[in-house]
């Protein structure tokens, strides 16, 4: 089972990074492999989850290591390759969602639609994604008026509309109540499985990790502690 996953890993990263501030140092040293479909990166806050996602997306430069997405090298410290974030086609949904406050939902989702496409074409593709995420009625509304669940759906629509080759989700459900999480989680799983791209979901929520029930990487203090099916990894740690 494990070797089978290794061979099909689409997103591989070996990251090494050290940040020291007034004696309070943080050290990250991980090797990660994520296959197509949902992968959960689980760990307490401060274990380096967000740092890992930022590095994969290209918003933060590791000290050493490499990142590959399928056949493409995104980062390789030794070979001095550091692909700019806009060329990586790795969509990142921030914990804060980072919806553009000056654009309506349609404008937000159309922002990432890859070109060349006319404005009308971008908008029609954006609208299709809003419809798939069941928030088409919000097309002309601005983020400040969205509920937590609505903002979440628009942020996911925006990420998926950019036609990414990998999708990173940082604590995507942290602002939602439990019932919404179950709904949206199940819906997200459907989308993700139909797209066939590697999806990395970061969470420190044990219940969510168990509920999603997929392959799980347990992170602790900047290191990978265990990798395996969620039920096994979480059961081993009481």
């Amino acid at each position: 089972m494990a070797s089978e996953r290794l061979s099909e890993a689409g997103l591989r990263a070996r990251l090494s990074l050290q940040r020291g501030q007034n004696g309070v140092g943080f050290k990250l040293e991980v090797t990660l492999q994520f296959g197509p479909g949902l992968n959960v990166l689980f760990g307490p806050s401060g274990s380096g989850k967000t740092t890992i996602l930022s590095a994969i997306a290209g918003l933060l430069r590791p000290d050493a290591g490499h990142i590959t997405l399928y056949e493409q090298t995104l980062f390789d410290a030794a070979a001095q390759i550091d692909l700019a974030p806009h060329l990586r086609r790795v969509a990142l949904v921030f914990q804060s969602l980072a919806l553009f406050p000056h654009l309506d939902a349609l404008g937000n989702v159309a922002y990432g639609v890859p070109g060349p496409a006319s404005k009308a074409e971008r908008h029609s593709r954006a609208h299709a994604w809003l419809t798939r995420m069941r928030v088409a009625h919000l097309a002309r509304a601005y983020p400040s008026s969205f509920s937590g669940g609505e903002a979440q759906r628009v942020a996911l629509a925006r990420a998926l509309a950019s036609e990414p080759r990998a999708l990173l989700l940082d604590e995507p459900f942290s602002a939602l109540d439990q019932a919404l999480v179950s709904d949206l989680g199940a819906e997200l799983l459907d989308h993700v499985n139909s797209l066939g791209l590697p999806v990395v979901l970061v969470t420190h929520d044990r219940n969510l990790a168990r509920e999603l029930g997929t392959e799980l990487t347990l992170l602790r203090e900047g290191r990978v502690e265990r990798v395996g099916p969620a039920s096994e990894v979480l059961a081993a740690r009481v």
Partner: protein
Amino acid sequence: MIELEPLLLSFEVALLATSLASLLGVALAALLAQPRFWGRELLDAAITAPMVLPPTVLGYYLLVLLGRESAIGHAFESLTGAPIVFSRGGAVVAATIGALPLICKAARAALESVDVRLVGAARTLGATRFRAFFTVSLPLARRGILAGVMLGFARALGDFGVTLMIAGNIPGQTRTASLAIYDAVLSGRDADATRLSLIMTLFAMSVLIGVGYLTKQRPDGF
């Protein structure tokens, strides 16, 4: 009877100067807002210096830099047929130098207050650094920048010292409202001085109230 000519000239000079200072100031602010730019504090100090240096010092530097014998002054004169100094161009340069730090500082603060995650989101959605700046950073910073531009305009309207140093006091050419007030006071035309001063004060107060309104944070932070 109000002397209209100096007032109109002041507005004309201030409009040109504010346009120049806005383009330059926002470009410099974008540079200063970059976290990894080594000469940042030095450049910031150089832009801010006109706020604290005596106008005579600034005027002297500008005369050396832009005078008819200087390389820039010479090139400008052979291209346009007129010198920069002691002409309307000199008055525009003087007002630009005054407005630049106000606009640049406001723009830097406004750009730095834009959530870096929004810019990061734009980048991961395929936007180049350039596109992210113009479609995310700049629109979100626009209120702060506009406030700086208004302050800069008010400052450009009232420049006295540097204008006198490099543009002189030529009626219809470089004698702006603040210079006309100086003339009126020196020649004992107190009524003229009072009228022009009140108009300038009224205008400055209106601008400041406008800036106060612009910089008041809205509930949604936008």
